[in-house]
C-alpha cells in the first residue's frame, strides 16, 4: 500500500481563466468535487520528466545508470533511414485522415 501526501497551496490565477476551468470541470464531471484531481492532472501534463519516466515504465525499461555520451555513441546501432521514417509516419497519418 502506498501513501500519498497532499499539499494545500495558494496560487494567483486570472479569474476568467479559473472560472472557465471550473465550468469545464463541472461539464465533464457534473460538479467541481474533482477540481483538485483535475488541477493535479493539468500540472502532471506540464511535468514532462515524469511523463518520460511513465513512457519508460510502459515499455518496461528498467531505470539504470545514466549513460555517458561515449556510451550512447558506442552502443547505438548504425542503421540508415530513421529520420526518413518520421516523414513517412506523418505522411501516412495525413493520407489516412484524408482517406487516401
Amino acid at each position: 500500500m502506498s501513501l500519498t501526501t497532499t499539499v494545500k497551496t495558494t496560487v494567483n490565477i486570472d479569474e476568467d481563466v479559473w472560472e472557465e476551468f471550473k465550468r469545464t470541470v463541472d461539464r465533464r464531471y457534473g460538479g467541481t468535487r474533482n477540481l483538485s484531481k483535475v488541477v493535479e492532472e493539468a500540472i502532471s501534463n506540464y511535468n514532462t520528466l515524469e511523463l518520460l519516466r511513465d513512457a519508460a515504465r510502459a515499455l518496461n525499461v528498467e531505470p539504470g545508470e545514466y549513460p555517458s555520451s561515449t556510451e550512447v555513441e558506442t552502443i547505438r546501432p548504425s542503421v540508415d533511414g530513421a529520420s526518413m521514417i518520421v516523414r513517412e509516419m506523418r505522411d501516412e497519418r495525413e493520407a489516412r485522415l484524408h482517406g487516401h
Binding site: N45, Y46, T48, L49, L51, L52, R53, A55, A56, L59, V61, P63, G64, E65, Y66, P67, S69, E71, V72, E73, I75, R76, P77, S78, V79, D80, G81, A82, S83, M84, I85, V86, R87, M89, R90, D91, R93, E94
Partner: protein, 154 residues
C-alpha cells in the same frame, strides 16, 4: 529539435555527428536542447518501425530505447534539455502554422514549440520542414545537409 534530429542520436546515420556535437555541448552546459513531448511518441514509433521491418534486432531496439530514456532523463535533470509540454498556446500557434505553411499538424507542432521557446536554431533532417520553419522566421538547419553546428555553438 524535430524528431528526425533526435532519432539520429540513438541510431547512427547521416547527420548523427552533428547531433552528437550538440548533445555533448548540452551535457557540458554550453547550450540547452529542447523538443516537444509529442516527439517522445515519434521517437518510440521510429524505433518500433525499424524493429518490425527488421532493420533493428530486438537487442538493438532495446539498447536504443534504453539509451534514449537514460540520456534524456539525465539531460533534463542537468537542465541541459527541455522536453516542452504541449500547451494550449503551442497548439493554437500550431493551428495557425498549418494554414500559413500548409504543413501537417505534427510538423506545425515542431515549429510552434521552437518559436514559443525562443529557440536560436531549429534542427531537423527533413527538407520540407526546414523550408516551413525558415518561412516561419526560424533559423532552420537540415542536419543532413549542413555541417556548421560547431560554429553555431561557438
Amino acid at each position: 529539435m524535430d524528431t528526425s534530429a533526435v532519432t539520429k542520436r540513438y541510431v547512427r546515420e547521416r547527420g548523427s555527428d552533428q547531433i552528437d556535437t550538440l548533445y555533448r555541448a548540452a551535457e557540458q552546459g554550453k547550450i540547452r536542447l529542447a523538443y516537444s513531448i509529442w516527439n517522445v511518441g515519434e521517437v518510440l514509433g521510429v524505433l518500433d518501425k525499424m524493429r518490425t521491418r527488421g532493420s533493428l534486432t530486438q537487442q538493438q531496439y532495446d539498447a536504443a530505447i534504453s539509451l534514449y530514456f537514460g540520456e534524456n532523463e539525465k539531460l533534463v535533470r542537468l537542465n541541459s534539455l527541455v522536453i516542452a509540454p504541449l500547451t494550449s498556446a503551442i497548439l493554437v500557434e500550431s493551428w495557425r502554422i498549418i494554414g500559413e505553411q500548409h504543413v501537417y499538424a505534427a510538423d506545425a507542432v515542431q515549429i510552434a514549440t521552437s518559436a514559443q521557446m525562443g529557440a536560436n536554431l531549429f534542427l531537423t533532417a527533413d527538407k520540407r520542414l526546414t523550408e516551413a520553419a525558415s518561412n516561419h522566421g526560424l533559423e532552420a538547419i537540415n542536419v543532413e545537409e549542413k555541417n556548421d553546428i560547431q560554429e553555431k555553438i561557438e
